[in-house]
Symmetry: C2
DNA sequence: ACAAAATGTTACATATATATTTCATTATGT
DNA sequence: ACATAATGAAATATATATGTAACATTTTGT
């Protein structure tokens, strides 16, 4: 399954590298988070959400 | 300023130690997160939110 | 088909979240 | 005032997020 974060990034027309630069992370880190193989820090999640004009819930919360 | 997380925990009548046990963390970790001196992992944030019947946004998102 | 960009992937190094332990301080109830 | 629970705080140890670098694979445009 493709993550909501990846959808939001593509929707914004950003590449992994571009997003990474905006949030002071690396391309690899962004890629791993998108694949769900990472457990990112809250601060990084917030930076990503703001860069993509989303909230934490919209990107990282699963409606149970 | 007292964190939203601390308010939600007290509202639920939980002690730091009780919440910590529910989310598989330690009392100290919970305390530091409440004080804002920590940058917790997304998984821990999600566990805390669920334990307190809140969402990520409600606990960790600052409405700008 | 080709070139270039974007993404995947792995190995290793580093920074930091978290655990563990111990003791001090503050709150709560009786 | 006393006892107990709850929280604060510091030291060290460990696990893991993140960075860096290099190369492979896929995608995109021409």
């Amino acid at each position: 399954m493709v993550s909501k974060m990846k959808l939001a990034r593509i929707e914004k027309g950003l590449t992994q590298a571009q997003l990474a630069k905006q949030v002071n992370a690396t391309r690899q880190t962004v890629g791993l988070i998108e694949k769900g193989e990472y457990n990112p820090s809250l601060n990084l999640c917030i930076a990503i959400a703001k860069a993509l004009n989303k909230t934490l819930d919209e990107l990282f919360w699963e409606g149970d």
